[in-house]
Chain length 491, copies 3
């Protein structure tokens, strides 16, 4: 280490606490001076964090004399102009409404990196973002948007609980790189979100409430309401109308328990449908390089959410089913049956068909639930991170279709011969299981057709990059993550 550098470090004396005569200098960051404009909660927490991460911090305030008490003593509190001049990277931690007050620093900020950490007070669907407005005000600075999703509290404590992801975007890749490295050094996990045009999205991030779950939950609810009403009419209204028998007590458990598996199976079929549609589209177009219709693209990215909704319904169905024999109603019906059996003098009520039907569909149902649980577990981020493409594809495709088949067989065994029993067509409505089976059976059939050698062969070629009409375009999303493997093409 050159002597004058050591001297400079000693003079600067930015290491407090125990007295140290010398300062070792090995890191490449040393000379980086970071400015912060603003003295609010966020500014103070950021200053502490930066100081703790070894940066030299200069805070710019309009009233430095008042503000100095608020900041860690390692940070220098000075005028805005002074802070802007000294620093290489300047965090703009003031309300976006007041960004314009910084215009007087324009010259001092020229050529500097400005990090806009501001948040909106509400979601914004159109118009320029705060960061884009800042970029217009300071065309000679390099604007980076980010850190707005981090709270002052997390900044200060580095809490291990909350998310440590920090989203960044900028039109200048160098400025972005610098801030990425700073975030990493502060202990965050920066995520590069591309150009500054993403800043509106980043500013909207704190307002999102499970955006990828909206559609799947909505569809689950619609299906639930539809099947609940269907079963309500068949199981509660029908006996009321036909036999004047009030069985409203079925509403909280029994009707729900017929509805849940219906929703679960249809949702599971909806997980595998977009993949098949994508394959059909690719076969028709003869290329994988054409973008899918927008709705299909969105659907493809939401298969995990559809699957988890299906799993939730299936798990609830299992618990509801297991609760059935525990209920008073089951007990009363059993006691009454015993009374009847004794009265009628039937020594053995055993019915082999009834026994076999139930043993089989319960057994298949348990296996289907077990498989579905495996699918759900591998959806956990930490598990998914530890498996390779082939394993992912095995679980989500092979195991997934096994699960769908098992669930379909479970439903068929439950239905048994009821499809051919006219008394099951109450109010002319077919039994619920028949309505439910339409989609999964179609999905399984199309899947089987796509496995026919001639079609499978063509599809494989297309996914390897072959095109019916040769012209190469950029890679676009496709449903076959396995194509990831043939990732090297000829020169």
């Amino acid at each position: 280490m050159p002597e004058e550098m050591q001297q400079a470090l000693i003079e600067r004396g930015d290491d407090k606490g125990r007295c140290r005569p010398l300062e070792v200098c090995m890191s490449e960051f040393d000379t980086q001076v970071v400015g912060i404009l603003g003295t609010g909660d966020f500014s103070r927490s950021l200053a502490r964090r930066l100081v703790a991460s070894g940066y030299r911090v200069v805070v710019g305030s309009r009233t430095p004399k008042h503000a100095v008490a608020l900041f860690p003593e390692e940070a220098e509190v000075t005028s805005q102009l002074e802070a802007a001049s000294q620093a290489d990277v300047v965090f703009v931690a003031i309300f976006p409404e007041h960004h314009a007050t910084l215009l007087e620093l324009k010259t001092a900020l020229a050529g500097k990196i400005l990090v806009d950490v501001s948040n909106s007070s509400q979601i914004k669907r159109a118009g320029p973002s705060h960061a884009e407005r800042l970029a217009d005000m300071f065309p000679e600075s390099f604007i980076v948007k980010g850190l707005n999703t981090i709270s002052a509290w997390v900044l200060q404590t580095g809490s291990r609980d909350g998310s440590r992801q920090v989203f960044l975007c900028s039109d200048s890749s160098k400025a972005k790189s610098t801030v990425l490295a700073m975030c990493r050094r502060m202990g965050f996990c920066p995520v590069d979100m591309g150009l500054l045009s993403s800043s509106r999205e980043i500013e909207n991030l704190p307002f999102y409430l499970f955006p990828s779950w909206g559609t799947p939950i909505l569809i689950t609810l619609i299906l639930f309401i539809f099947f609940y009403l269907y079963n309500f009419v068949r199981d509660v209204v029908h006996p009321l109308v036909k036999a004047k028998k009030s069985v409203f007590y079925k509403m909280p458990i029994e009707t729900v328990n017929v509805t849940l598996p219906s929703v679960a199976l249809v949702m599971l079929a909806l997980v595998y449908m977009p993949g098949l549609l994508a394959a059909l589209v690719q076969l028709r177009r003869g290329t994988k390089y054409d973008r899918f219709p927008n709705w299909l693209d969105k659907w493809l990215t939401k298969r995990k959410q559809f699957g988890l909704c299906s799993f939730l319904c299936a798990a609830m169905h299992a618990i509801y089913s297991l609760c059935l024999p525990m209920r008073q109603s089951a007990r009363f019906r059993l006691l009454n049956d015993a009374f009847k059996q004794v009265k009628e003098g039937v020594e053995d009520a055993w019915s082999d068909e009834g026994v076999w039907r139930m043993e089989l569909y319960v057994s298949v149902g348990i296996i289907a639930l077990g498989l579905l649980s495996l699918l759900a577990i591998t959806s956990l981020p930490s598990v998914a991170d530890n498996i390779n493409w082939r394993e992912f594809s095995f679980i989500q495709s092979t195991l997934g279709y096994c699960t769908l088949s098992m669930a379909t067989v479970h439903t068929l065994l439950f239905g048994w011969d009821r499809a051919f029993d006219p008394s099951q067509y109450r109010f002319l409505l077919p039994p619920t299981f028949m309505v439910v089976l339409i989609l999964p059976v179609s999905v399984l059939l199309v899947r089987l057709i796509l496995l026919l050698p001639c079609i499978a062969q063509q599809l494989r070629q297309i996914r390897r990059g072959w095109e019916r009409s040769r012209h190469i375009r950029f890679i676009l999303p496709n449903d076959d993550r396995v194509t990831g493997f043939d990732n090297v093409s000829h020169v």
Copy 2:
């Protein structure tokens, strides 16, 4: 690359294996020489890891001739003095009792970074840590504490199983930065723990056994024992005393199954109580900048653990309940009931009230358990890392209060009209569910009061930083993580 550098690399020849005439030099780390004092298991594993990560390693031993065979051939084994002189960063991998033997290297170690990796043989509650003693011995070196939580075995294999977190602290932020970067390069996830005064805590880390779980588990156990005895007296002792009927067989399952939901509900109420207390404290003080009493602070940070204990009890309660109809005792009681019904000639034992009560409370109970499971899943670190503040607050607050309400309704439906039935007051003890409901009902009531517009408005202002008596202080922990959003204040 300058020629003399290439030459130096060739001469140094630290790249074994295939013979390579030249060495490319692009990384900024190249010249970093790392020393290790000590030749034990840890030292050897560290040497291998450092070599594999591309560092030049110099090991200092008292008997270099004997030690040389123990180290990878890429590492240079020499005298302690030689190692201390050459290296920029020196790992001190000798027993802390022998730290004093290093005093002869004082001059050579001046200005160097010393990393103390030692562990204690037992937990230490007071007095200076090993690292602090080392700092007193070598005032001209820069002491960093860390890596002690990593085992020699993990160091050598980089096992993907165990934790890769490495805790570091130092009074010199530059020294800390250097070691942070080294850890990152060795494949660990370094966590900055602040100043060297944290070293005692870091040295105690390997002795901790779920420190954040102590209080919650203790409270769960106390509640369990209390409610178990309460139910034992009511359900087992009472029939024994009053009717000379021995029902001790209820102890392993039935009494446990009444105890578990009681514990679960009280624990769930204890999750939401500290948040309400914090709000009340803030309302009374008129500011969010005052530190909460210590017990409240601790309680606030342990809500997750309280919630998971509650979930565990609720899940066990569900399994116990599902097991009820499977037991021999249930079978015998059913058979005896059937016998009685036949004897008494009751054709239909159906009781609409009994049926409705049970259908409802089972149904609500399942929903409460489902919601509680969602809360538990979002507590998994990998899931929690992928959600933003608003989602976190939605799940933990909105969904959490839904769960608490559902569980309360489940208990109320279970109680039905028993609170007004004198025969339920055995030994003058009120039914268990009444004792259980005190806390959750109070919590829900206070929550409702805080939602009143006038109070909610004042609370919102306080959490935005408004103070009844204006004087700004540093941010302190508060229960409202949502305040994270308004993280930008005016200059």
Copy 3:
């Protein structure tokens, strides 16, 4: 920043989008030029990713005029020779069959880092890897193998779903460091796999299908088939032969439900057996520094998988058991029993022994399952990452042996006095539970013996590094992760 550098940046003008007069230069990466040879899917995605991460990219194509349209405009598309000459790091993204066509660039590539991203079309058990062949062709370049497990699609989108792990190996640690840093900057999590001899393994990675699960699942299946047949003979064939009674309906549920807990308990015993064997080996050899036999080593690393298989079987057993009372067959048997009871005029069928046996074994079974669930949850990567060695050892060892004991007691209580009932020895086969108990009881006994003070003391000494015959060797895998704590030895 020196003026000529600014000038260079302005002239280079690699920042598109908004017009910016100047470019700030603070990052250490600036001057790094990355070359890509090849123009396929992977090449194009890699180019986009590199550009987005702030690198200057030069693509080498045989037909640069055609290829230029395929790449982002920030990337320079030129001849292969030109790209090879300009770049410091060159990605070789062409089919491995065509590697030889690059020999004409040998001089230009000398001293450069070549990253081989190629994949095989099938798994390769012997012979040199593609990367090793490349290293033979270009002895003056520095070959790094890696990135082949990442798909073009992930490269382009940086999908948060899939794994972001990138495996790298190289004989040159400096070249590897450079590529490690590049991968980190592109947002991947690079994993250092050591020397280039690991490249065959890396090339085989995409073909692995849960390699660590093969043996555990195989053993689970073998045990399942064995116990299923054993129970089938005892429970189905025996009544058919002896009493001409057909009870085939037991096959889907009842026989499975006796088989599953047997497999679960034996698998759980197999989790703790290798640890005991390792202790015995260490005791006999008097050292921990000798390598265990290969099979024991492998077994030790697969304990987690054995444990999870055991948990899966136990959980399925729980669900099957809970389904028992719901079945038609259970209903029919109950009704027939009621009929019999009435016929025989037995007012109270209660049998205290039967009741106690079942209450106890159900209760213990639930506790065993609860403990096993805790073990399973702490196996989740994200949970395991957050616990220290002592906690890990507490859970996996203390809690694990508790679980094994509980499960053994559950089985003993299930067995009750049946071992002494001659009618249980159908076809001379002992009851299943007796066969099952052999292994867990042996494991628990050996564990108790190892806890005897004299033996425990010796084992502790050995694990601290003491050796009966003194000669120190390198650390080898051992089963006691707790030894990680005494990680500092004397100099």
